[in-house]
């Protein structure tokens, strides 16, 4: 091996080391905005929907990867962890925005938020569209969850495990 080859070898190895320590971020980040259907405003003329919103006492987020639940349900709280995001009778229409990270290298994630009453029955629910995992990046834009009341003329809430 000539000295030139030796130098090339060392440079290549050094470069690989630098790349390995600075790049290859294994995380994909998702911003998820949670809101309640404006039809559930307490001033809504649809009295049933308004009543449903007043009953919301907890919001729980579930994460699914390719149809499989990968996170236990987490109660939505303010980022400082002090206050519950949803509390009867005044859960806001604009609940807030959450931040999620995953080390998955491929697949698609879906976020589902279940809104529960005091008896822990799901009375409203919404899901994001499926979002592709792309390690080392933030998913472009914000994923939207728009919770709507369960039952009635609207589609039934999906079956999800209790936290």
């Amino acid at each position: 091996m000539t000295s030139l080859q030796r130098q090339a070898c060392l440079i290549g190895l050094t470069g690989a080391l630098v790349l390995s320590t600075s790049g290859c971020d294994p995380y994909t980040y998702f911003n998820v905005h949670v809101a309640i259907d404006p039809a559930m405003d307490t001033d809504s003329q649809v009295i049933k929907d308004a009543r449903t919103r007043r009953q919301i006492d907890a919001c729980v987020v579930y994460v699914f990867a390719d149809g499989q639940q990968i996170e236990e349900g987490k109660n939505l709280k303010t980022r400082n962890g002090i206050a519950e995001a949803c509390q009867a009778p005044n859960t806001p229409l604009n609940v807030g925005i959450l931040d999620y990270s995953t080390t998955r290298s491929s697949g698609k994630l879906k976020f589902t938020v279940a809104m529960k009453n005091l008896d822990s029955d799901v009375i409203a629910q919404g899901s994001t569209q499926e979002a592709a995992v792309n390690p080392g990046s933030v998913y472009p834009g914000t994923l939207e969850v728009l919770a709507t009341p369960c039952g009635g003329s609207k589609p039934a809430c999906e079956a999800i495990s209790r936290p």
Partner: protein, 124 residues
Amino acid sequence: MMHSSFGIRTVCFGVIAALAFVTAVPAWAQEPEYVDPTIVKDDKDEQPEGVKNLGAEQVVAKKKWEYNTPPIYTKWWFWVASVAVTAAVVTLAVIPLTRHARPCETNSSNSESNILLNCFGDGR
């Protein structure tokens, strides 16, 4: 959950291994082929070196190396490269386990007046 970072680690390791292999291969390529001196080939009639003068006192000249060039492990750069590759592999294996996800944003002014909720997931 670190289950899915295995693929990334494998790709990174593959890049390093390929670089090391491509640059190191010429060293082995220059090694001469070993020929056993006691073996007589069919196309030769002469006695092999190993059976000449069997009765005479043998003077065995000590060779420093069996080959024309010394083994690769006597080269300083071989050990440097080995240590570098080992360090790279260990680093790649450990970093995904210790690296945290980006910090959670705490300033709501960047989120269009939305209330900031849970910040969770892998690495948090």
